[in-house]
Subunit: 113 residues, 2 copies
Amino acid sequence: MPGFGRHRRRMMGQMEDPRSRFFMALASDQRIKILEALKDGEKSSGELISILELDPSVVSRHLTMLRNVGLVSARKEGVSLFFSLGDTRVLEIIDLATKISKDWFNRYQAYFE
Amino acid sequence: MPGFGRHRRRMMGQMEDPRSRFFMALASDQRIKILEALKDGEKSSGELISILELDPSVVSRHLTMLRNVGLVSARKEGVSLFFSLGDTRVLEIIDLATKISKDWFNRYQAYFE
DNA sequence: ATATTTATTGCACAAATATGCAATAATACA
DNA sequence: TGTATTATTGCATATTTGTGCAATAAATAT
C-alpha cells in the first residue's frame, strides 16, 4: 500500500497560504477586466455589469471575491454601491504579469520562425 | 429544466487573457512553495517531491503548469531534470502580493480589537 | 403601506482543477 | 540484451469554481 493508502485520498490544494487566494482572485478574465476598469476611477455595479455582460449575481460574486482579498473597496450610496481599487499596487502586479507573459510569448514564438 | 429557458447557458470563465493563466499558475500553495524553493537556486525533481510530499506525477504536473507560463525553466541531465526560476520578476510579484495581503489582514483585523 | 430599484444568497448544474495509481516512455548502466 | 531510475500520460474521482435563475433583503420613493 504505497503512498497514502487506498482510502486515504488526499484533499485538493488547500489554499491555506493567503497569497494563493490572492492570486486566485486575479486568475479570471472577468476579474482582471473589473480591475482594469477601475483604473480610471470609481464605477457603479451597473457599469461593471454592462462591461462584463454577465448576470448581476455573478458580478456581485466576482466583486465579493476581490473585496475579500482587499483588491476592491466599496462605497454605499442609497441602494447602490460604487467600487474602486482597494490597493493600487495591484496595478504593478498586473503590469509585471503582462511583461513576463509577453516576454515568454516572444521567446516561445521564436521557435516557429 | 432550469438554466435553459431563453438563453444558452454561458460557459465558465474563459481564460483567454494570458495573464489569467499566469495568475492561475500562482494560485496554489504547492506551486508557490515550488517557486520559493527555487529562490535559493536550482532544484531536482526529487527535492521538490520531498518538499511538497506529493506523488511524482502531481509534482510533474505542477511544474509543467509553471513552465507553460514561463515561470520555471528546466535543464535535462540524463534521466533527471533540474528546475530553476524562469523569470526572477515573479519574486517581485510574490513580494507585492505578500505585502498587500498583510496590509489587508491588518486593516481587517482592526475591526476585532 | 406598496411599489421600485439594487444587491446578495440559495440552489442546481457545467466545467475546470488537484490528486493518486497504473501504465508507458526515455535514459543510463550492468 | 535486460534492469533500474526518472518523467510523463491516461484514467477515475473528489473538490472547487463559474454561471444563471429565482427568491430574498435592503433602501428609497410614491
